[in-house]
């Protein structure tokens, strides 16, 4: 399979802090992959590099072989990479359907003149946009909530709406930053079922940042582990789970002392 997203030797520093240190990363098309790691490992920084929010000091990132670095995030979205945010960033005072409609901005063909003259092209397109927005809300399980104001939606629905909004830009690659944070185990399972469906129906590729290990292990084809900005392991979920370095990163190094070790008190 072809590499959809490829990062080579990405280094990002904030002053003296090295948030990412020469990280290589390859994501193949049609997969669900996860990035895991303890807090502050550089996962979200990595996402921000992919979506043009940060520019790394070193390294290259390419999407379908074309370089991404130096593009603005709206240009990257237009290329087909869209994301959600760790701390939900919906347009809080807009309705659910308006949120999704904004997500379609990159795919709107009409310009200023069409909007002012209300020609046939504008009307047809506007109708199509609203129809697709309704469809998308349906897909993410928000049917009947189209006209609710985003901030009034329950937490789980807000997460789902954010995914719907990201899908609106017709991405080839969807980046989800902790999509199940704050969800119950049941809600999280539903969401994962939705993601699998999206991959099957839309031919998406999905990259997750996730803390919920059960979700990660269940859903991911491929797992990458970051710790202090370095990639410490990657591979299939089961392999990564057994990797001693991963266990160490999550649980800490066991202090071996002779006194405790040989059983003599």
């Amino acid at each position: 399979m072809a590499a959809l997203l490829e990062a080579r030797g990405v280094t990002k520093r904030f002053g003296g802090l090295i948030a990412l240190n020469k990280v290589d990363f390859i994501l193949e098309e049609g997969r669900i992959a996860s990035i895991i790691g303890p807090n502050g490992a550089g996962k979200t920084t990595f996402f921000n590099v992919f979506t043009g929010l940060y520019v790394p000091e070193e390294g290259t990132v390419s999407f379908r072989g074309a370089p991404l670095l130096g593009l603005r995030s709206d240009q990257i979205t237009a290329l087909g990479v869209c994301r959600t945010f760790q701390n939900i960033r919906l347009f809080r005072n807009m309705t659910a359907v308006e949120n999704v409609l904004v997500g379609m901005h990159a795919r709107v063909g009409a310009g200023l003149w069409s909007a002012l003259s209300r020609n046939r092209r504008f009307k047809t397109e506007e109708r199509a946009l609203w129809a697709r927005a309704a469809e998308l809300l349906d897909t993410v399980g928000l049917r009947g909530r189209a006209n609710e104001i985003a901030r009034n939606l329950p937490y789980g629905d807000q997460r789902r709406l954010e995914i719907g909004r990201a899908l609106a830009s017709r991405p080839a690659l969807l980046l989800l930053d902790e999509p199940t944070a704050g969800m119950t185990q049941g809600e999280a399972r539903d969401l994962m079922a939705l993601l699998r469906r999206l991959i099957a129906d839309l031919g998406l590729t999905i990259l997750l940042i996730e803390h919920n290990m059960r979700v990660v292990m269940e859903v991911s084809d491929h797992v990458t582990v970051l710790d202090y900005g370095e990639k410490i392991a990657e591979g299939r979920a089961v392999e990564v789970q057994r990797d001693p370095r991963v266990i160490e990163a999550y649980l800490g190094r066991r202090k071996w002392t002779p006194a405790a070790g040989d059983g003599r008190a």
């Binding site: 379609m104 901005h105 830009s169």
Partner: protein
């Protein structure tokens, strides 16, 4: 009981028609009474708020603005002047509403675009341009006015983009400061560009500026109306202003209700998220700037033609603040709000405070006694018209305390203000 009756369309329509007819009749009876004219204006407000079905309401509005107002304007020319001024400021406020209300880019130098439009016609529609090019090719024929309406749009939009390109990366306060500076720069330029090339004639201003010809003059003559009578021309200007206001309202509404308006709203809500969802920030902000500026440009062209004379004094910082105050008062981002705000502020300025000053003066001259105090002893500094800015300030402060969303707020603005602050 009365309120209950007003809910019924028939009664509401009856009441509005009655009010309009009564006040119109009143003004025709005593044309010099400002109070009666204000009652007429208040009836228009009642018309706006009354629960009348869409069709009759549109008809009534058309009759009021298209027939009653011109009639009153012919009876007392000053009322026509007020109506034209209100129209000019409504168009300006609607233009600024795009920038500040929809895209939420605080622009404190909006009057600069107004000035750019005004000077573009003033220079070429008067002999002023001969100073630059020599000869006596100018003024251009007044017919060019209509072309210059578009030129004004273009030049102001260009100025908007020119200002926007470098500064739109700035946020909030910084942007406001730069636009404030830009407004001053344009005024200072207008004040000083009489040397080395005399472009603006400096503080002396430009005059006489050509006025748009009445293109249907032969038609008027055919029906026996003298087009050169001094009643017709103000009516004609009024119609032009009304036309510009109509176009501005239409553009405002169509922009708001399109992907462009949604993108602006998204930028207001969360700039980073909007960009991550594919909204090109700088381009959308530039668009807002250019759209807002272009209205100011067109209105500027009309303003210079109406005034015949312009100088930099018409384009001070206070004018920018005045227009901003109009939309804050009316309700930011709301089209009816901008219209009402502009009308209220302009009427307050031209009519209420001035009228009050005149009245006080009359009392003073007549030596009227109030509570044993002879008004003739009243210091002459005490003249309400001089306290215009103070009264404005007071109104704005009170508004911010008691109704921060404005008189006729946009629905979304109300939502934003209701949102509890993030902890």
């Amino acid at each position: 009981m009365i309120v209950g009756l007003l809910e019924k369309p028939v009664f509401a329509t009856g009441l509005v028609v009655g009010l309009l007819a009564l006040t119109t009749w009143g003004v025709t009876r005593s044309p010099r009474s400002i109070v009666l004219f204000m009652l007429f204006q208040a009836s228009i407000l009642v018309l706006y708020f009354a629960r009348i079905p869409r069709g009759p309401k549109t008809l009534l509005t058309a009759v009021t603005l298209g027939v009653l107002m011109p009639v009153l304007g012919t009876i007392n020319a000053y009322y026509m002047e007020i109506a034209i001024q209100v129209g000019i400021f409504v168009a300006l406020a609607l233009g600024l509403n795009i920038v500040v209300g929809l895209a939420e880019l605080l622009d404190l130098g909006y009057v600069a675009f107004f000035a750019v439009g005004a000077y573009s016609w003033a220079i070429f529609g008067s002999p002023q341009a001969n100073q630059m090019f020599g000869g006596s090719a100018f003024p251009l024929s007044p017919w060019w006015f209509f072309v210059f309406l578009l030129v004004g749009v273009g030049v102001a939009a260009g100025a908007g983009i020119l200002l926007g390109l470098p500064v739109l990366r700035l946020h909030g306060d910084y942007l406001a400061l730069v636009t404030l500076g830009f407004g001053e720069v344009i005024r200072v330029l207008a004040n000083n560009l009489d040397k080395p090339i005399n472009l603006t004639n400096g503080p002396k201003g430009i005059t006489p500026i050509g006025r748009p010809p009445i293109f249907f003059a032969p038609l008027l003559q055919a029906v026996g109306i003298d087009p050169s009578s001094n009643v017709i021309y103000p009516l004609y200007l009024y119609a032009l202003v009304l036309l510009i206001v109509g176009v501005t309202v239409l553009v405002n509404r169509r922009l708001e209700d399109s992907h462009i308006g949604r993108a602006w709203e998204a930028i207001r809500e969360d700039q980073t998220a909007a960009q991550a969802m594919g909204v090109p920030l700088v381009r959308m902000k530039l668009l807002a700037f250019a759209c807002g500026a272009s209205f100011a440009g067109a209105v500027g062209v009309l303003f210079s033609a109406k005034q015949i004379f312009i100088n930099p004094e018409s384009f001070t910082f206070m004018e920018s603040i005045g227009v901003l105050a109009m939309i804050i008062l009316g309700g930011m981002g709301s089209i009816p709000g901008a219209i009402l705000g502009a009308a209220v502020v302009t009427i307050l300025n031209l009519q209420v405070l001035k009228g009050f000053s005149l009245w006080l003066n009359e009392l003073r001259n007549a030596g009227t006694m109030i509570l044993g105090y002879n008004l003739a002893n009243l210091p002459t500094q005490l003249e309400p018209a001089k306290y215009e800015r103070m009264i404005f300030g007071l109104i704005l402060v009170l508004m911010m305390i008691f109704r921060p969303q404005g008189i006729l707020p946009a629905r979304r603005r109300t939502r934003e203000l209701q949102e509890p602050a993030e902890p």
